[in-house]
């Protein structure tokens, strides 16, 4: 098992993690633990939101690339890390100890 596979598994099996999605900048699904419909739903939202989130950061700072995105509700946490080619999205259920 490659280091990439091991990292993927570690995230996937982390307590509370509901799903992991990797898409490219066109929104095409590269790898996902979600079903097809859910994957495409997330993908469409991500490629819609990210240019806007990037613009939000650029209001006060020109050359700064968006590195991390996060939205929280009481029970859910969606985290997204981008680079110029890909997005990694993780959905985490918040668990109370």
């Amino acid at each position: 098992m490659s280091e990439i596979e091991e990292s993927f598994k570690r995230i996937q099996t982390h307590k509370g993690v509901v799903g992991v999605l990797i898409i490219n900048r066109n929104g095409s699904v590269i790898k996902s633990t979600f079903d097809q419909e859910t994957s495409v739903s997330y993908s469409k939202m991500v490629i819609d939101i990210f240019p806007k989130a990037d613009q939000l950061l650029k209001i006060n700072s020109d050359n700064d690339e968006l590195s991390f995105f996060r939205v929280r509700s009481k029970d859910n946490d969606i985290m997204i890390t981008p680079d110029k080619d890909f997005f990694l999205l993780v959905v985490n259920k918040i668990h109370k100890e």
Binding site: G16, S28, V90, I94
Partner: protein
């Protein structure tokens, strides 16, 4: 809605595997997975939406 008009190109398994094997992807995933893992561990240790100044009763209810 605009969003419903967006067409997501679908990749076949061969194309997906080529991407997963690429240097660009490996570099991205190595870096990004570390950020996510740190964020997940942080999430486990402290929930910023929880008010720790409340009594345990209030916390249980919320």
């Amino acid at each position: 809605k605009d969003q419903d008009d967006v067409v997501i190109p679908e990749l076949d398994d061969f194309e997906k595997q080529n991407i997963l094997d690429s240097d660009a992807f490996k570099s991205f995933f190595t870096k990004s997975s570390k950020v996510i893992e740190r964020a997940l561990y942080l999430d486990d240790s402290v929930d910023i939406l929880v008010d720790y100044t409340l009594s345990d009763d209030s916390k249980s209810k919320s």
